[in-house]
Symmetry: none
Subunit: 233 residues, 2 copies
DNA sequence: ATTGCAGATTAGGAAAATCTTAAGATTTCG
DNA sequence: CGAAATCTTAAGATTTTCCTAATCTGCAAT
């Protein structure tokens, strides 16, 4: 099954919302409305990630974060209603790996969780038993997310970070059409997207160019007009 | 039958309007003009989605939203007359999945309801007994909304975005007649429609032409004079 | 059979979406 | 800091799709 994620927030609605969205991605969620209740779970369960609210009634979320860090080094994401820069930084220096300010869009939260998990499991392959396989293979194409290598028909493709991300997303959803906007949001979660932003188009172009160097039919990435891009399953 | 949808709004006209449009899409509607009346329904009925006004006389809609979230995970859409960004965001963090500001166009509302239902049922297949499936099959025809593919008797149909939409709508309502105006509004929710606009006719023509390439009797799409088009069930 | 109207058929131009390029901005790294 | 790599922006070219409008066809009521 999916990774084990701890969620601690005294605002029930938010904790529940987070839980629902994480479960819908097949993660196993351990949800608590208070820090004290969560402590036992932290000690007894081998977690893969924690999402902690900073403002908790019984214990400061940052303290909880510290407590986790005493014995564990899986990713910790802080939730905070405050938009104060100082808090963010404090959270990060205390051992958190990312922070999300409320209010947040649920899908953005999920994207960040996945990003942290990927990074974590990359350096902890022993924890990666149920991770999204770091190596993706598809008709002549081999991608290794860990090593950031990509081979097309035995030949190495030198891809930039963004190009790599686009190709990875298309392969992960291979068969389905992915719109430019979806790609954009998967890569730059918070950034604002407008139709006049054609940066995805340009990166797609670069990708196709690099792929066409080693492949006759560079139709790997298909354009579905008015809908998006896809790689045939 | 269709999904069960809760509608709560003290403005009778709006609640009634929402009800009519949802019923016309074969949803089962549970309508209430106050939050207190709705509470019992929430406890006793296995709902699939809720539409709540924020401004209610007897209880804040957001509170109602919270109450639902305590025990249920189905999508919640908030209605609000206020166009204030803060309110919208509050609604979302409190557990709502989408919001619609009044005044709204009914068909847009229906579209959002469908979008939320699709997402919800996708992750809750046990609830998907009557979900709109991403793949539609009908006498030799296979449509996959995700991959944007369409096969007619094993042969691929290359459809444009609009053609695809028209065929999808006709198939989703297969058996019943759909007028050109209905098709138009399903596809271009906001745009103005006038009889002199024969664009649907033209797209239907293109569809029929593409289908006739692989089928002897291109009577898949029947014309009901003076009423609309339909695909036999 | 005639007539009126709804839909069908075309084709060409308009509009929209994507592609291509290249220059300038930014980031990275030594 | 400076060079190289990468990213973003923007403008114009290209491709695909859509819409309009004029004409044609055929249903259906009289």
């Amino acid at each position: 099954m999916g990774s084990k994620i701890l969620v601690v927030d005294d605002e029930h609605e938010i904790a529940d919302l987070v839980e629902v969205y994480l479960q819908s991605e097949n993660f196993t969620v351990y949800k608590f409305y208070g820090a004290l209740e969560a402590l036992q779970c932290i000690e007894t369960t081998e977690l893969d990630l924690a999402i902690l609210d900073i403002m908790l009634p019984d214990m400061n979320g940052l303290t909880l974060c510290q407590k986790i860090r005493e014995h564990h080094h899986y990713p910790i994401i802080m939730l905070t209603a405050k938009d104060e820069e100082t808090d963010k930084i404090t959270g990060l220096t205390l051992g958190a790996d990312d922070y999300i300010t409320k209010p947040f869009r649920p899908l953005e939260m999920v994207a960040r969780v996945k990003a942290q998990l990927r990074r974590y499991k990359m350096y902890n392959p022993n924890r990666a038993e149920d991770a999204v396989s770091p190596v993706i293979v598809h008709s002549g194409l081999v991608m290794n997310v860990d090593t950031h290598e990509c081979l097309l028909n035995e030949k190495s493709l030198m891809l930039t970070k963004t190009e790599f991300s686009i190709l990875r997303i298309l392969l992960e959803k291979k068969g389905s059409v992915v719109s430019a906007e979806e790609l954009f949001h998967e890569i730059w979660q918070d950034e604002y997207y407008s139709k006049s932003n054609n940066t995805i188009t340009v990166h797609i172009r670069h990708l196709r160019e690099k792929m066409s160097d080693t492949v006759d039919h560079p139709k790997y990435i298909k354009t579905i007009w008015g809908v998006g891009y896809k790689i045939e399953a």
